[in-house]
């Protein structure tokens, strides 16, 4: 048996988390560096996965399978397809930046007891989340996936509730109450989703007798496992609900703005760029493979909801007064696109959606982290408190603009590719929906440019006049992301090559084919 690469990739950050937590209270920098090192090592492992993965090979590769809880029909089964590989790479890639960006976010200012170690805790929790996210991308056993899908909430919860923006307009007391409100809201939304999914998971067991994704999908395919139509639909809804909360899909989205608003920028990135991806990823992997018929049955409703998310999220983003909330609603709109792409059931749509997950991760990270740097300088999240920053901190403004342009998916930057694929993929099957969704790109331009104009341009505000430009550490965080945005915008082929085969087999699971063009203009 070969080296368990997947397990290693998930376990390494877990160990790192424990180690980081164990660092004595005084040795803060040591803890930070340790965390950074671990995240880099994990990145190395993720890259190995990327290299070892053969796009044209079997569907699930690098598989591992061990007996675990026979009574529950649960096995410890790992395996990655192209989609998972892409997302694992994204996760591992973003982590070092998140850690680096949050370098000073958790330095304790109040004096707790000798043993109170917020900094260690902060970075340990981040690594813990990484571990859980990675393993839930790898799990091919529904139960295994569920366990980490749920367990993930706990560290996230502490990250949101425990660490917020330093300066706060209403003072620390109000801040902590708002934070714990946001944290509790986040947890309850996702927990309710998760518990409803639990019911469905149990139901699945009752129906299928085991949790192995491959076995069940196979049994569904060759008809040896028959589900009554209603059963399948209920189970599908149970699963989808949880993922829709996580994603988040309108109208289950309201936890996201609070969570992102109250948590520090790196954590906010962790939420949207990494953790929420598990939801959309799971739709693609579990909903479609386990319940193909029900998925098709639910498609119209889901498409409409996704459409609402796109427009609604964008419109609300326009109406926000708080930078982070704005980004949050923008993300809601983007998740609408992802879900749209998934359930358009076309190869363009789903490849686009997968690509979108990656690109959105990078672009949001870029935008949000720069916004975080901005906020940490001025100590306010309110758009109205800024103005003319471009004059005093041109580099900051420039990077912020690029992040924004990525968010409005400007051609030449990565998000454009994915967004256009999603639109085309949707359009080929549902023209009307595709066209309405296209309005989203206008609104995206609106909220992004309004944000940029209000904060960066115009006469220089008194409070920002002394604002320093990006520091070296911050530049190190942002620059690679921007390079990546441009590279993937110009040459996304490496990613699409990995993703396409996986999408192809997913589509074949739901027995869907791309609609043929009316005229065969290209010779096959």
């Amino acid at each position: 048996m070969s080296f368990p690469l997947l397990t290693a990739t998930a376990v390494l950050p877990a160990i790192g988390a424990v180690a980081t937590a164990a660092v004595p209270a005084a040795r803060r920098t040591a803890a930070k560096s340790l965390a950074l090192l671990v995240s880099l090592a994990t990145l190395a492992l993720a890259i190995t996965i990327l290299v070892r993965f053969d796009p044209d090979g079997g569907r699930y590769q690098l598989t591992e399978s061990h007996a675990w809880i026979a009574d529950f029909g649960v096995r410890y089964e790992l395996g990655v397809d192209g989609i998972a590989v892409a997302l694992i790479a994204l996760t591992a890639l973003l982590m070092p930046f998140i850690i680096l960006a949050g370098w000073h976010d958790a330095d304790p200012l109040e004096t707790g007891s000798k043993r109170w170690r917020p900094t260690q805790g902060f970075f340990a929790l981040i690594l813990g989340v990484e571990a859980m996210v990675i393993i839930s991308f790898e799990a091919t056993d529904v139960f295994l996936f569920y366990i980490f899908f749920e367990a993930m909430l706990i560290p996230m919860y502490f990250l949101i509730g425990g660490f917020g923006d330093r300066a706060h307009e209403h003072g620390e007391e109000a801040a902590s109450t708002q934070r714990s409100y946001a944290a509790v809201k986040f947890l309850l939304y996702n927990l309710v989703g998760g518990l409803i999914m639990l019911a469905a998971v149990i139901g699945l067991y009752v129906v299928a007798g085991n949790f192995s994704l491959q076995e069940i999908a196979q049994a569904r395919a060759n008809g040896s496992l028959h589900m009554a139509t209603n059963t399948e639909r209920w189970l599908f809804l149970g699963f989808f609900f949880a993922f829709a909360v996580k994603a988040p899909l309108w109208p289950l989205h309201t936890w996201l703005p609070n969570a992102m608003q109250e948590s520090t920028a790196p954590v906010a990135v962790l939420i949207t760029a990494v953790v929420d991806k598990v939801g959309t990823f799971a739709m693609l992997r579990f909903c479609l493979q386990l319940f193909p018929e029900a998925s098709k049955w639910a498609t119209p409703a889901i498409l409409v909801l996704a459409l609402i998310s796109i427009i609604y999220g964008a419109l609300l983003a326009v109406g926000q007064r708080d930078i982070k909330r704005l980004v949050a609603y923008a993300s809601i709109s983007h998740f609408g696109f992802i879900i749209l792409g998934i359930f358009a059931m076309t190869s363009q749509g789903q490849s686009g959606a997968t690509l979108y997950m990656v690109n959105h991760g990078i672009s949001t990270a870029a935008l949000m982290l720069v916004a975080g740097f901005l906020i940490s300088r001025r100590g306010s999240r309110l758009i109205a408190d800024y103005g003319g920053v471009q004059k005093v901190a041109p580099v900051l403004a420039g990077t912020f603009l690029i992040g924004g342009l990525a968010t409005l998916s400007l051609p030449g930057l990565a998000p454009f590719v994915s967004e256009f694929l999603v639109l085309v993929g949707t359009f080929t099957r549902y023209p009307a929906i595709g066209i309405i969704a296209t309005f989203g790109i206008v609104l995206a331009a609106l909220y992004t440019l309004v944000l940029y104009q209000r904060t960066m341009t115009g006469p220089v505000k008194q409070e920002v006049s002394a604002m320093p430009d990006l520091r070296a550490r911050e530049l190190v965080v942002v620059a690679p992301l921007i390079v990546l945005l441009i590279f993937l915008g110009v040459y996304p082929k490496p990613v699409t090559d990995i993703v396409n085969p996986a999408v192809k087999s997913t589509l074949s699971d739901v027995h869907k084919k791309d609609p043929k063009p009316e005229v065969e203009a290209v010779a096959k």
Binding site: F72, G161, E173, L198, A199
Partner: protein, 552 residues
């Protein structure tokens, strides 16, 4: 029935040629009853110790004896299980009074272990500040002396401690060992009283807040006696129905498989009204013990008032024993009645799950909070009971095992958080505990998460097992309700965590006492079991699965 028939009773007896030979000597399988016997024996020894050993060394003697007894008893259980008494050789012992089979052995093992852990918390003497140079535990110096009276002061000054708690504990455990394995209603009743009465007393023995402690005892006692009166009447009715208190016989009568009913008895025997009313009343008695709504109302008050070690032990062990008895009753005696009691139990389970979770939301005292949480958990377990399948039994067994350790551990943590007035149980005092002593807070958080059924804790494995069994038993709606109420329940567990970690510590906040290895062991064991059963439950699930068969 005719007078002559009755008369014949006496005459036959009177005209016995050789009465002695007529009465068969009882045949007792001492080996198979050894766990119980060991504990009872040790308890009696404890009483003797109280009588003869000088005060100074009583504590050590008691702790030693009890510990040895419990370990030995546990060893006996293991030996029996290894001997196959849990599976192949399972049978009815002691003239049909005791059933030695999988469930009873499993539950006895669980009870003994939680009893041992409970003993540790009982024996803890480092938490309370020393008074007059004497180490003291959490029990009254002299139960008889009036709170705040001179006699009490004198007793404290003299450094008295109520070492009687140890024999009491042992008696309670003995009763609990018999309770789930009782195979006739009389034994059931006696066992019920045998473990209830010591608990009533233990509740009254708190060192601090004695008024509350006594009040708890009174409430527990009165309500408990009230409930057992109902149970007893139920037993009487069943006896009237079946003409016997033996489970097997009753089951036969219920199935209608019993032959040659004396026509003289026909008018009572097999009278379903008697059966149903009687059965309902017994079940009610058991539901009282497990604290199911609407028989739960004693739980919060008693849990709050009783000395915390007692609360922990009670919460864990009583539930185990009572659910064991309930299982046996429903699976062995009344399976024929399934279609009558299942809907009722459905209702009870639903009300209990939801009610417990909802009321807990607004609790302000940590012990009451845990009390309501235990009520909600009773509801979850009931869902498993209702499955009426082998899986149902084993899932309930597993859940009980997992739950008891979490509970004792949690209450043990509660004993650590103290201020001038003893334990600081008001939630507001727990604010910012995570800043003061992260470790304790973290441990407690683990227990709370286990209660909430978050994956990778034993709570999740147990909940999953139970719900799975219920779903397979066709109780999908129950599963949904259970899921919803877990969501509600999650809310208040989370609230405590928020309080501990996210809110600023009070300047007048409590301190965390450094416990002796005893409590540490209790807590450590709790954490260990919680995590092991959460991550790798397979072995224990197998165990429970093997133990899932009742002997008839």
């Amino acid at each position: 029935m005719s007078a002559s028939a009755v008369h014949s009773l006496w005459t036959t007896a009177a005209t016995a040629a050789d009465p002695i030979s007529k009465i068969p000597a009882p045949k007792i399988e001492y080996g198979q009853l050894s766990p119980t016997l060991i504990v009872v024996g040790a308890a009696i020894v404890g009483v003797l110790i109280e009588a003869f050993v000088p005060r100074k060394s009583r504590y050590y003697a008691q702790v030693f004896v009890s510990a040895v007894a419990l370990v030995a008893a546990f060893a006996a259980v293991v030996a029996l299980a290894a001997g196959g008494y849990g599976t192949t050789k399972a049978h009815i012992a002691a003239m049909g009074a005791i059933a030695v089979d999988g469930p009873s052995l499993f539950l006895q093992g669980t009870i003994l272990l939680s009893g041992l852990v409970g003993l540790f918390t009982f024996a803890e003497r480092r938490l309370d500040p020393e008074t007059h140079g004497n180490r003291v535990d959490s029990f009254a110096a002299q139960a008889a002396s009036v709170p705040g009276s001179d006699s009490e002061k004198a007793a404290v000054k003299a450094g008295f401690t109520t070492t009687e708690v140890f024999p009491l504990l042992l008696f309670a455990i003995a009763g609990m060992l018999v309770f789930p394995s009782a195979n006739d209603l009389l034994t059931l009743f006696v066992a019920l009283e045998v473990f209830s009465l010591p608990l009533y007393l233990l509740c009254a023995l708190a060192r601090r807040k004695r008024l509350m402690s006594q009040e708890a005892a009174v409430k527990y006692f009165l309500l408990g006696a009230f409930a057992s009166a109902f149970t007893l009447f139920g037993i009487a009715l069943l006896y009237g129905y079946a003409g016997s208190v033996s489970y097997a016989t009753i089951a036969h009568v219920v199935d209608g498989s019993v032959t040659n009913v004396d026509p003289a008895l026909a008018n009572t025997m097999g009278n379903d009204a008697l059966l149903l009313v009687g059965g309902a009343m017994i079940v009610m008695g058991l539901l009282f013990k497990v604290g199911a709504i609407p028989f739960h109302m004693w739980t919060p008050d008693v849990y709050q008032g009783a000395p915390t070690p007692v609360t922990g032990f009670m919460a864990a062990a009583t539930k185990v024993a009572a659910f064991g008895a309930l299982l046996r009753l429903l699976y062995v005696v009344l399976p024929g009645l399934r279609w009558d009691w299942r809907p009722v139990m459905w209702a009870v389970a639903i009300v209990t799950m939801l009610g417990g979770a909802i009321v807990a939301i607004t609790q302000t005292d940590i012990k009451r909070l845990l009390a309501y949480s235990s009520i909600a958990h009773a509801g979850f377990i009931l869902a498993g009971v209702i499955a009426t399948s082998k899986d149902g039994v084993s899932s309930v067994l597993f859940y009980l095992g997992a739950y008891s350790f979490v509970t004792i551990g949690a209450f043990a943590v509660v004993t650590l958080v103290r201020d001038a007035g003893g334990e600081a149980t008001h939630l507001s005092k727990w604010a910012g505990l995570g800043r003061r002593s992260p470790l304790v807070a973290a441990v407690f958080a683990v227990f709370l998460l286990a209660f909430a059924g978050i994956p990778l804790t034993s709570g999740f494995a147990g909940k999953f097992a139970v719900f799975k069994a219920a779903a397979e038993g066709g109780a999908a709606p129950l599963v949904v309700v259970g899921v919803i109420s877990s969501a509600v329940a999650a809310f208040f567990y989370i609230r405590v965590i928020v309080l501990m970690f996210f809110s600023e510590p009070r300047p007048d906040g409590p301190t965390v006492a450094v416990p002796s290895p005893l409590t540490m062991a209790a807590i450590g064991l709790g954490v260990a079991v919680t995590l092991v059963l959460g991550v790798a439950p397979q072995y224990f699930l197998d165990l429970a699965a093997q133990a899932g068969v009742f002997v008839r």
